[in-house]
Amino acid sequence: MFRFIFIRFLQTIPVLFIIAVLTFAMSRAAPGGPFSQERRVSPVIIERMNEYYGLADPLPVQFGNYIKNLLRGDLGPSYRHEGRTVNEIVGGSFPVSLELGMWSLLIALGLGIPVGLLAAVYRNTLLDYVPMSGAMMGICLPTFVMGPLLALVFGLWIGWFNVSGWHTPADRVLPSLTLGLYFGAYVARLTRGGMLEVLSQDYIRTARAKGVPEFMIVYKHALKGGLLPVVAFLGPALAALISGSFVVETIFQIPGLGRHFVNAAFNRDYTMVMGTVLFYATLLIVMNMIVDILQVLLNPRLKYES
């Protein structure tokens, strides 16, 4: 087990390095630099600024310096947000994205699992068809459709919530629902599928034959195995939550990391792009690792592989 974790941990280092090289190369391949979009600035000043930030050095030197600073945990200064470091910006905006992600995940699991369970237990009845049609609709209403619709209906027409912003607790509702309902729909379908598969297994029949109450069969015998697909889904769901946060933070104008990343890419804010990409990549890799470990813990039939 520890060997498994250790090996997986070692593997992340080259992966992160490759990501750093790729991102660096891609951001520098773009025409224009971080200062080229300023209002009229004389070429001399731009040259000075480039020199000051080390942007005049040859690219390999720049990359070497970046990695050196990175190893000390320093992501460098932002080129577009004057006087602020990337560490500060990420540190300030990630908690917002994290909160959004947590609420969404809570909604997704809290809604998806019970609905999927209900549908599996009452298979081929109204309690199956109606919620599952709802789940299918949820999958076909991606965040960028759902978000504006929710804002239109509950923000403008009914007026319960603000259309945008991230100030009051009520401001959390619409963005979290937008992201959460979409993933809840997936979770419901996966739960139903997983439960149906488990409920048709021999050991469930044995339990029924022994006269175990149906309630106990569902919650005690079947649930753990039935939720395996949901656990497996959490890894990719996290990646999708991140890209979903780009959209939702844009719709509701939330000052999270997703918006900072998109803006940084537009503005050629090199250090900001590098910093956010590496941050997201680390987050993804670590979370995928946790999901893998969870899966093995829940399902003894799987073996650790290195």
Partner: protein, 304 residues
């Protein structure tokens, strides 16, 4: 390493049984029979066909051009002249939706085709050669899985400009991983069988065996997964468009139209409603069709 995606895992997909392979084409007859019994999948197929025909042929029949501005008719709700209203510049919404559909659908299909070619060749080669090569090739796929791809696609489109071809290739280059795994899994079981041994003993080259003997036998799972990849690709393209990275104006994919509609929704809600409706119906039909095809091509994996 354990790995799953939003898409079906290789285990969910049909494994052709030996007797089915021996019966040859009857697999397809059976599949078609089963698909016809699946009412939902048929409705999805019909719906998708209608949407596709409207988008492909519609622009020839409408009296309006997609960039034709008539400010005097700006921002009307649905009328007899403009069935889905007009935008603030007086452009006919239905015409723009049909043109946008051409872009969205072609992105969906072209990017899926790119991912199909890479994934199928990669997966089949890896499994067929086997051994250490296979281990290294699949390890590479594992590593790629850990990459934050949406981010890279965003970076690519920022850097190289908003070209339609770039979007095809960038998205296709991202989506081939799962296809490679599915095909590899299938080929691993197939390559043990006698007809491959026969081909080898006839002295055929590896390339010929992979292309002519192995790949034709995994067409079923490939079709199923490709059907489910198209909506995933369209979704990714729409996300890009939504973030302002889509095709150049005055062209507009559905994602661009939805984005414009969102900005105007307070005053002209129909500009959001109609493109969103088309987009959702297309996702809906392709998802149901994919589910139906999976059940049809592999009765064993059917959900109930």
């Amino acid at each position: 390493m354990i790995r799953t995606t939003l898409s079906p895992s290789p285990d969910d997909l049909p494994v052709p049984k030996l007797e089915e392979l021996e019966r040859g084409s009857s697999l397809w007859k059976d599949a078609w029979r089963r698909l016809r019994q699946n009412r939902l999948a048929l409705i999805a197929l019909a719906l998708f066909t209608v949407i596709a025909i409207v988008c492909v042929l519609g622009p020839f029949m409408t009296p309006y051009g997609y960039e034709e501005q008539r400010l005097a008719y700006g921002a009307q709700g649905p009328t007899w002249e403009h069935w889905m209203g007009t935008d603030a510049l007086g452009r006919d919404q239905l015409t723009r939706i049909m043109h946008g559909g051409r872009i969205s659908l072609s992105v969906g299909f072209m990017a899926t085709a790119v991912s199909l070619v890479i994934g199928v060749l990669y997966g089949a080669t890896s499994a067929y050669i086997g051994g250490r090569t296979d281990a290294v090739m699949m390890r590479f796929v594992d590593i790629l899985y850990a990459m934050p791809f949406t981010i890279f696609v965003i970076l690519l489109t920022v850097i190289f400009g908003r070209s339609l071809y770039l979007i095809f290739i960038a998205i296709g280059a991202v989506e081939w991983l799962t296809m490679a795994r599915i095909v590899r899994g299938q080929v691993l079981t197939l390559k043990q069988q006698e007809f491959i041994e026969a081909a080898v003993s006839l002295g055929y080259s590896n390339g010929r065996i992979i292309l002519r003997h192995l790949i034709p036998n995994v067409v079923g799972p490939i079709i199923v997964y490709a059907t489910l990849t198209v909506p995933a690709v369209m979704l990714l393209e729409a996300v890009l468009s939504f973030l302002g990275l889509g095709v150049q104006p005055p062209m507009a994919s559905w994602g661009v139209l939805i984005n414009e509609g969102k900005d105007a929704m307070t005053v002209y809600p129909w500009l959001l409603f109609f493109p969103a409706l088309f987009f959702s119906l297309t996702l809906f039909s392709l998802n149901f069709l994919g589910d139906g095809l999976r059940d049809a091509l592999d009765p064993k994996s059917s959900k109930d």
